[in-house]
Every structure is written in C-alpha cells, then in structure tokens.
Symmetry: C2
Subunit: 201 residues, 2 copies
C-alpha cells in the first residue's frame, strides 16, 4: 500500500515535470507562471507546491530529469564497453535516441540554465561536465589508437554533442523518417566525420 | 552631409541591434524591457522609439540582421560557385565563420522565433527556408553525382546546419583555438561525414 502510494507519487511528479517542460518550452520559461502549470495539470497551485518549491526549483528538477536519462541510458551502460569505437557508437546512438525520440522540451530546456540560482547552476554544469569529459576521453583514446582524423578534440566533442542535441530541435517522429533511421544516419555521419576507418554501422 | 547623416543613422541602428541582442541573450528576451535596452545604450526610451517600434519589432530586426549576414556573406557568393563540392565547402566555412566569429547573441536569438507575431514569424521562416533549400539542393546535386554517402538528405541538411549553428553556443574566440582553425575542423568533420571522397580541405 505504501509502496503503491510512493509509486503513484513518483508518477505524479513525472507527469508534472513533463507537462511543465512542455509549457515552459511553448510559452517560454520566463513568460510562464506556476499558475499556468497548475492549470494545465488541473490541480491547484497549493497542490503543485506539494511537489515543487517554486518555478526555479521546477526548472532545476526538469533539467535533472534530462540528465538522469542521459546518465542511465547512455553514460552508465557505455562505461561498461571496453572498446573505444564501440563505446563511441553506443554513446552517439543512444544519446540520439533520447534527443530524437524522448521529450524534446526537456532537451531544449537545458538552454535555460541562466534562470537557475548559483548552486543549482553549478550542480547542472558539474553533471554536464562529467558527461562531456566521458565523451572527450573516448575521443582521446581513439586518437591514441590512431583511429581519429586530425581534429581538435574539444571542437570534435562539442560538435558531436551539437549534432545529437540538435535532433530535438528539428526532428518530429510524425514525419516519414523513423527515430531509428534518423539516429543511425546521424551516428554514421558523425563516425565518418571523426574516424579514419569506421567499422560498418 | 545628408549622406553622413544617413550613415550615422545606420551605424546607430546597428549599435542598437547588437547591444539589444546581447541584453536579450544575457537576461533572456522575455525578462528584458525596452528600458533595459535604452539604459544600456545610455539613451531615453523615447530616443529608442526613433529606431524601433517596440520590443517585438527590435527582436524581428535583430533576426533579420542575422539572416542578412548569412545572405550576403554565405548564400549570394556561394550561389556563384558552379561545382557542388566547392559550393558546399564554401557554405560551411563561411557560415561557420559567422557563427563562431560573429555575434553569438544574434545567432542564438534566432531560437526566440515564437516571440514574434504571425506575419514576422512567416517572414523569418521564409528567409530560413530559402537558405535551407539552397543547402539541401547542393546535397541533392552531390547525391546525383554519386559523391554523397547514403543518408537521408533532410537529416543531413539539418545536422550540418546544427553543427555550424552550435558553434555560437560553445566557441569563445578568447580560447586557445582560433576562429579559423575551429571553422576548418568543423568543415572537415562535416565534409568527411557526408562525402565519399572529400577533396583535400
């Protein structure tokens, strides 16, 4: 019973995050009030305060939600892969799946980092840095193995992440292109752009 | 004399656009008032109204400024290039130079399109479509020549533009990497990702 209650609370929190992300994205974070979020959820503002401390806290929670997905679905499983090329491929494909197939609003809201307070911002930046360094380290490893084209590694890491994150801005799964096909295309384009002799993708 | 007056007015308008872009970018468009812009320029709000009709009009002007640069420095000269591969290379390099070396705030503010009114939005989208179709047509031409890797052309066009526009978000010319080197790196990565046998870059 308590377990069900907890699960229900987690589901409710997630519903709040996803709905809020969508409204922040559509109306713009600065132009959205907690009232707008409460109205969309058909709850009272007091009811909403049970889950969030305020608008800034809600944005912080949404950003952490996005980073949780990247951690659990990309970073942690990728860290188990010994071969650097296979690890890079897994990372690109699975991060692309999140950006193209997941919640676009959550991905794009990560731009609103300046709306956070100092402590929240530092936490988000720290989490991002961990992921960035993980991708960068994989490219450094490939460079040492002589597999990487001559390129500045930092530029390569940012550009690669840009190719992936950009998916959330243009790709709509309702079109003729499937999530799977677009992720494979972006992955192939990235690997060919970076690696001297990429294995078949 | 009249000529000088006009030139002065154009310079002043440009100063207003660039300053406003920077404030919109730093504070967020929704959170910025015309008073903030007037204060930063050390002019009165009435003085500012001599140049702009309002905040929305100012955003619209800034977006057009960014699109003017792309048109004059990338699109028009690129259209003169007959060879598709040379045209693609020119397009990437010169657009990258604008995104990396130009005004980052202007590039990133293009995300604020939802803040425009219907008519303004349609105009901006139409201008963007013209450029998008130009890049896409170049890729179609390369595909017909058998020079392109197998890839969905629309996905390739969006991803390519994403790699370029992302530069405005991460690249700072104060770092150890020069604008020229980073643009060449991004251009090489893109051409290798797209073309079967890219010519030396």
């Amino acid at each position: 019973m308590a377990r069900n209650g907890t699960q229900k609370s987690i589901d409710r929190a997630q519903e709040i995050h996803l709905t809020a992300a969508q409204i922040f994205f559509t109306k713009g974070y600065a132009s959205t009030s907690l009232n707008d979020v409460a109205n969309a959820l058909a709850i009272t503002k007091a009811g909403l305060y049970y889950y969030v401390e305020g608008k800034q806290d809600l944005l912080f929670q949404i950003m952490n939600l996005g980073l949780d997905s990247v951690k659990n679905e990309v970073l942690l499983p990728a860290q188990e892969i010994t071969d650097a090329e296979a690890r890079l491929k897994f990372t690109i494909l699975n991060h692309a799946r999140l950006a193209a197939g997941g919640n676009h609003a959550v991905v794009i809201l990560s731009d609103e980092i300046s709306a956070l307070n100092f402590k929240q911002r530092e936490k988000i930046l720290q989490r991002r840095r961990i992921y960035f360094e993980f991708v960068r380290d994989t490219l450094v490893e490939l460079e040492k193995q002589g597999k990487l084209h001559e390129i500045d590694i930092t530029a390569a890491t940012f550009t690669l992440l840009g190719m992936i994150l950009w998916l959330a801005r243009w790709f709509h799964s309702s079109g003729k292109l499937s999530v799977e096909k677009v992720c494979e295309d972006v992955c192939r384009m990235a690997l060919r752009g970076l690696l001297r002799e990429p294995q078949k993708i």
